[in-house]
């Protein structure tokens, strides 16, 4: 299972891609993950709801 349920590009992967985060990492993480939920919902919405 490469991409676990509820995610598309997990934060653990994304966080390695930043050269640095000068401010609060948790804010960056929170916003990344909130859009992960919606985008993931779209993929599965197409499968289960359309």
């Amino acid at each position: 299972m490469k991409v676990r349920p509820g995610t598309l590009i997990p934060w653990e992967q994304r966080v390695k891609e930043y050269e640095k985060i000068l401010g609060d990492k948790e804010i960056v993480k929170k916003e990344w993950e909130s859009l992960e939920v919606l985008a993931n919902r779209f993929i599965w919405f197409c499968l289960t709801d359309l």
């Binding site: 490469k2 991409v3 349920p5 993931n40 919902r41 599965w44 197409c46 289960t48 359309l50």
Partner: protein, 397 residues
């Protein structure tokens, strides 16, 4: 919301949720699932309510008020073909485009391997990472506009993804608003929140198609089984993500293909992962509305394995009195009013049948009035009225 409407809503919510839990409310709730019938009653074409979901919302609210329903689904037509057309989804015939504007949408079953949305040699790719497979292979293949990973990108691909994502967000936001209006203007309770699908149905409906999955059960059974197991955690997550945060409303489970295969296929390929999904939802405090399309009576012994109260068992083609005998001690029963009576019978026929069902199934509570299958445009308006009248007359405890 006015005090009067709030009081009405709370009464209905209590009635509905008590019955869902197999309890005895003040009377049998009317939880009616109506699709193209709402268009007929409101004076819309099938094209209008299917392609313009706001008209479906208006028509549903009108029906809920006119027929005094306690609960309904804000859009039981269920798909928005405007979004289907913008993404370029291939598997529907759309009223007003492919079909006469007065005919409901139709699903096009893949006929051959060439038209299957997942190929026979792609099981491992799907099993390895279902979400990636859906995004990279399956969705581009189902769309007229999207292109798979590895092929040259196109403007139409980018726009289809953009419109798809924005369209879903628009639809979900407008649905929430319409559900809120259903509550504040009509005092009517939304029936379900969120969706679960049986893992085997996902493979059969949207990935391989009926013919191809039938062959796969013989040619590559291990792959089929592994695929149902691989997709299950994703379907559970998707159901939980779309479920009622207050845990009052059940998740909808529309079951399709389980009745079309042998006992052995059901036991090995259909039931174990479906059972697991329902139990996981129940452990999270979420009930499942088991809406088995067709006759699911062959599987009572399995369905009875589910935890008490974990499902509401909806009856379509089977004998509702048998369903009650086998499952009524554990689960609320709903439906069972034959659609052919609603379409071809008289109001007296409908009243008599509703009375018979209430007397036979609802005497201790735990029954919800509804048609056997989702009500289409063939139902007579006077017969839908009769269903309400009979429930109000005979369904009071």
């Amino acid at each position: 919301m006015s005090n009067e409407m709030e009081k009405l809503y709370n009464e209905r919510l209590e009635r509905y949720t008590t019955a869902n839990k197999n309890g005895k409310p003040d009377r049998v709730p009317l939880r009616i699932f109506a699709a193209e019938f709402v268009a007929k009653h409101a004076g819309y074409t099938a094209q209008e309510v299917t392609h313009d979901y706001k008209k479906a919302f208006i028509a549903t609210r009108k029906c809920a008020k006119d027929f005094n329903w306690d609960s309904t689904n804000i859009n039981m037509i269920y798909i928005w073909t405007g979004l289907i057309d913008n993404i370029g989804i291939r598997w529907y015939k759309i009223p007003g485009i492919d079909l006469d504007p007065n005919i409901g949408f139709q699903y096009k079953e893949p006929k051959e391997e060439d038209s299957a949305y997942m190929k026979a040699d792609e099981y491992d790719l799907f099993i390895d990472s279902p979400t990636e497979f859906l995004a990279n292979v399956w969705l581009p293949r189902t769309s007229k506009f999207m292109v798979p990973v590895g092929e040259p990108n196109t403007y139409r691909n980018n726009i289809a993804w953009l419109k798809g994502g924005i369209g879903m967000m628009q639809y979900l936001a407008d649905s929430r608003e319409a559900i809120s209006l259903l509550k504040s203007e009509r005092g009517v309770v939304q029936s379900v929140a969120g969706i679960l699908k049986a893992p085997f149905d996902i493979l059969s409906d949207k990935l391989r198609g009926f013919r191809m999955i039938s062959a796969d059960l013989h040619r590559r059974p291990d792959k089929v089984l592994a695929a149902t197991e691989a997709v299950t955690p994703y379907l559970i997550q998707n159901a939980l993500a779309s479920a009622d945060p207050n845990k009052l409303l059940p998740v909808g489970l529309w079951l399709h293909r389980g009745t079309m295969f042998s006992d052995k296929v059901y036991e090995k390929f259909f039931w174990p992962t479906l059972k697991e999904a329902i139990i996981q939802l129940w452990k999270n405090g979420i009930q499942t509305l088991w809406y088995g399309e067709g006759d699911w009576s062959r599987w009572y012994k399995y369905t009875a394995e589910l935890p008490e109260g974990s499902i509401i068992y909806h009856v379509d083609k089977e004998d509702i009195f048998e369903a009650y005998k086998h499952l009524g001690n554990k689960f609320c029963i709903s439906g069972g009013i034959p659609n052919d009576i609603l379409a071809f019978g008289t109001p007296d026929d409908v009243r008599d049948y509703c009375k018979k069902v209430i007397n036979g199934v609802a005497k201790d509570g735990g029954y919800i009035m509804d048609a056997s299958a989702i009500i289409q445009s063939d139902a007579k308006i006077d017969n839908i009225k009769a269903m309400t009248e009979a429930t109000l007359e005979y369904g009071v405890y």
